[in-house]
């Protein structure tokens, strides 16, 4: 409800309203794009593009059951798809360039383990189907609920739960196999 009234004010051209929407969504759009792009520089560029696009188009946004956040994630998804279409295959980049919020509190041994996990997980995500990867990105990086994820993906909540379950089972299998190889 709060988001809805901010969107109405942003549509009327009130900068403060758009700024509040920006602040509320900036970090999670960035996280979502980090997981998708696996490259901090691209994620940074694209995060800015998402909000520029949103600013351009907010006037035409209609609250038809899709929240503003879900709409932003759709823009982010489309930008990422366009990016890969133009630039070809996804590039790989060591994710240890990025910092996990929880890392700062870890001791060096735990930090090394955490880094390894992040890399493994990111690689494992590439072996999921497009839809499964999208669910993982939206749920864990974007912090969207199942209902919001369903809206952003244009699927039913039931379908998202099934995708989430399958994605996690598959991730576990991939991660266990890579553990066994060491």
């Amino acid at each position: 409800m709060h988001e809805e009234s901010l969107v109405q004010r942003a549509k009327r051209g009130e900068p403060e309203a758009f700024e509040q929407l920006y602040e509320a969504n900036f970090d999670r759009i960035y996280r979502y794009l980090c997981l998708k792009m696996r490259n901090r520089a691209d994620a940074e560029d694209m995060t800015q593009q998402v909000f520029l696009k949103a600013l351009e188009s907010v006037g035409s946004f209609h609250w038809r059951g899709v929240s503003f956040s879900a709409w932003l994630f759709r823009i982010a998804h489309n930008q990422a798809v366009d990016h890969f279409r133009t630039k070809g295959k996804q590039m790989t980049l060591p994710l240890d360039e990025t910092r996990s919020a929880s890392m700062a509190d870890l001791d060096p041994v735990a930090l090394a383990e955490q880094k390894l996990r992040i890399e493994e997980l990111a690689v494992a995500c590439q072996r999921l189907s497009e839809a499964q990867r999208e669910v993982i990105s939206l749920r864990f990086a974007g912090g969207l609920s199942v209902a919001e994820t369903a809206k952003a993906m244009g699927k039913s909540e039931g379908a998202v739960k099934v995708l989430q379950h399958d994605a996690i089972v598959k991730l576990r299998r991939i991660l266990s196999a890579s553990d066994g190889e060491k």
Binding site: F26, Y30, R31, L55, A101, S137, A141, K161, Q164, R172
Partner: protein
């Protein structure tokens, strides 16, 4: 049956995302605990992996750019709301307003604005006055000196705000400071290349920039020691940027650049 498990898994994931522990989630579903545990461990790993934080400087720069864009957009809409100026072409309105601010420089309002800080009502007047002064300075060297002076003002503001531990404002000021420093670099490069035969002017600018750099660094160093943790990180970054930019600018003004 399978659907029920997906619901339970989803509920547990929601609770993990909200900060509950794995054990707390499993206690709710002892019958499914064995099946749930490995999946929730993967969910936790995914959550950790995704908790990437944007770099502070990127966030501050992006915020500043969005803020400028939004307010520029708003300003573009505003002339329509001033009927008394609506008959004037846009360039004439801007010039009139600029000239008004420029000639008001001695007035109480502008004088009071000079000591204002981000968040104060008069801060916008302070920035507008700076823009007008730049617009009415025509030589490259003069503009470079002004940009360096305004960089110094941002440094002073950062030091004052940092004491209050208002990291957000300190970051915003860092973005503005970086803008001034970029201009100093560009203008110094232009002066170094273009204003040949005027070595006196180049040398005066070099000395001026050296002085500004030393003064600003002094202020930042004192602020660094006196600021709380979060703000101190930004101040340290400002110091690094300042040194880097002034070194680049002074390099551009060195020796052969002015010779022609």
């Amino acid at each position: 049956m399978a659907k029920e498990f997906e619901d339970i898994l989803n509920e547990c994931i929601d609770r993990l995302l909200q900060g509950e522990s794995l054990e707390q989630c499993l206690q709710q579903y002892p019958e499914q605990a064995a099946e749930l545990r490995p999946l929730l461990e993967v969910a936790l790993a995914a959550q950790h992996a995704s908790a990437v934080e944007p770099r502070l400087e990127f966030k501050a720069e992006a915020r500043y750019q969005m803020h400028s864009l939004l307010h520029a957009k708003e300003r573009r809409r505003q002339p329509k709301q001033i009927p008394v100026l609506s008959w004037l072409p846009r360039w004439a309105t801007i010039t009139l307003v600029a000239v008004f601010v420029f000639f008001a420089a001695g007035s109480g309002t502008v004088a009071a604005a000079s000591g204002s800080l981000p968040g104060d009502t008069l801060y916008a007047v302070k920035l507008a006055t700076e823009r007008v002064r730049l617009a009415f300075t025509f030589s490259g060297a003069g503009k470079a000196k002004l940009e360096a002076k305004f960089a110094g003002k941002r440094v002073e503001e950062m030091a004052r705000i940092a004491e209050r531990d208002d990291t957000e404002k300190v970051e915003a000021l860092l973005s503005r400071l970086e803008g001034h420093l970029r201009h100093v670099e560009k203008l110094a490069a232009k002066v170094g290349e273009g204003e040949s035969g005027d070595e006196k002017r180049v040398s005066a600018l070099r000395q001026h920039l050296q002085r500004e750099a030393v003064e600003d660094l002094d202020i930042l160093e004192v602020a660094e020691g006196a600021s709380p943790d979060q703000a101190r990180r930004v101040i340290t970054e400002a110091k690094e940027k300042l040194v880097q930019s002034y070194l680049t600018a002074l390099d551009a003004l060195e020796g052969d650049g002015a010779g022609g």
